[in-house]
């Protein structure tokens, strides 16, 4: 069962952040979801839900340092 206390983040081609929210019904692990659903070749990081801002006012301005995307690469 996927760990729903985690989310997966990666940087899109336009430079903004995409955030993957795993389904509570999914039987895959968070790592398997990350590898499957992150775009091919893009590095990702698995983070706690609490690390994601809840205020989306400036959602388009969210960014992350590439050096932090170290948990894997999308298949």
């Amino acid at each position: 069962m996927t760990d729903t206390t985690k989310k997966i983040i990666y940087k899109q081609e336009n430079g903004t952040i995409a955030i993957l929210t795993p389904s509570p019904n999914c039987e895959l692990t968070i790592e398997e979801v990350a590898q499957k659903d992150a775009p091919t070749g893009l590095p990702y990081k698995i983070v706690n839900v609490s690390e994601i801002p809840t205020d989306r006012t400036f959602r388009g301005a969210w960014t992350i340092n590439d050096a932090e995307l170290t948990d894997g690469v999308g298949d």
Binding site: T2, A18, I19, L20, T21, S23, V33, I52, R56
Partner: protein
């Protein structure tokens, strides 16, 4: 013992033992005998007188004098009978049976020997209406049941009557999936921009989909449109009537077919 026709459901037969004779006066009986009168002994087809011609002790038969290998000898066990009973229909209960039941015929179980209703093969697969089950339960026919359990995630080959994918999620704050079927994750691509990722890819992109979204906290007219679709995901965007992308706290996507 019986006289006349064999009774249909119960009869008895006496046990006979033929001996290989030799120049000896001692032979071994197949069954223990308590006294000579319980045994009818024939030598060269002549019945012998108990006690005078022979005595017995358990399974030991002792003749009064040795015979030769050319003599014939057999015994009828008068105190030993075998009863054969054909149980009446409906009279056999569970305690009278031996478990586990084995040695099913290759054609399975049926009320008609020329066909097969139920087959249990050596892989423990059960076939109903088929003699070659390929899975744990293989039914060749229509299944009627009052309910089925399970989440349906393993269903394959289901027609277009049911949704291939559906999801209900909150697109505000940190995206939260309320419930779904065949969804591994939702990608938050940005304001009002989401990708629904399928757990099991669909066979093709010829699927039909519908979307719906809204806000519980305020009346807001909006439209949700597909941006891209593939066999593994579909990307949708919510926008208000001014064409600006907006986050909604109720976003639903349903896909049929594919």
């Amino acid at each position: 013992m019986y006289i006349g026709n064999i009774p249909a459901d119960k009869y008895q037969t006496l046990q006979k033992q033929s001996f290989t004779t030799s120049a000896t006066d001692t032979y071994t009986l197949s069954y223990a005998v308590s006294d000579p009168q319980s045994l009818a002994l024939f030598i060269n087809n002549v019945r012998q007188n108990p006690n005078d011609a022979y005595t017995v002790s358990n399974t030991t038969l002792t003749l009064s004098s040795a015979i030769s290998g050319s003599d014939t000898m057999y015994a009828i066990f008068l105190g030993k009978s075998v009863e054969t009973v054909a149980p009446a229909i409906g009279s056999v209960t569970g305690g009278m049976m031996s478990y586990p039941l084995t040695n099913f015929s290759s054609t399975g179980i049926d009320d008609n020997a020329t066909s097969t209703a139920i087959t249990i093969d050596n892989s423990e697969n059960v076939g109903i209406g088929t003699s070659s089950p390929s899975t744990a339960l293989d039914v060749d026919g229509t299944v009627t049941a009052t309910s089925f359990s399970g989440d349906g995630s393993g269903l394959t080959g289901v027609g277009g009557e049911t949704a291939s994918v559906w999801v209900n999620f909150n697109g505000t704050g940190t995206v939260a999936i309320r419930d779904d079927f065949n969804v591994s994750s939702i990608t938050d691509n940005g304001t009002g921009d989401y990708t629904v990722n399928f757990t099991s890819s669909l066979a093709n992109t010829n699927y039909s989909f519908t979307t719906a979204s809204g806000k519980n906290s305020a009346i807001q007219y909006c439209v949700t449109v597909e941006i891209s679709s593939s066999t593994s995901n579909i990307r949708v965007q919510n926008s208000n009537l001014g064409a600006a992308l907006v986050d909604n706290d109720l976003v639903c996507v349903h896909i049929f077919g594919g």
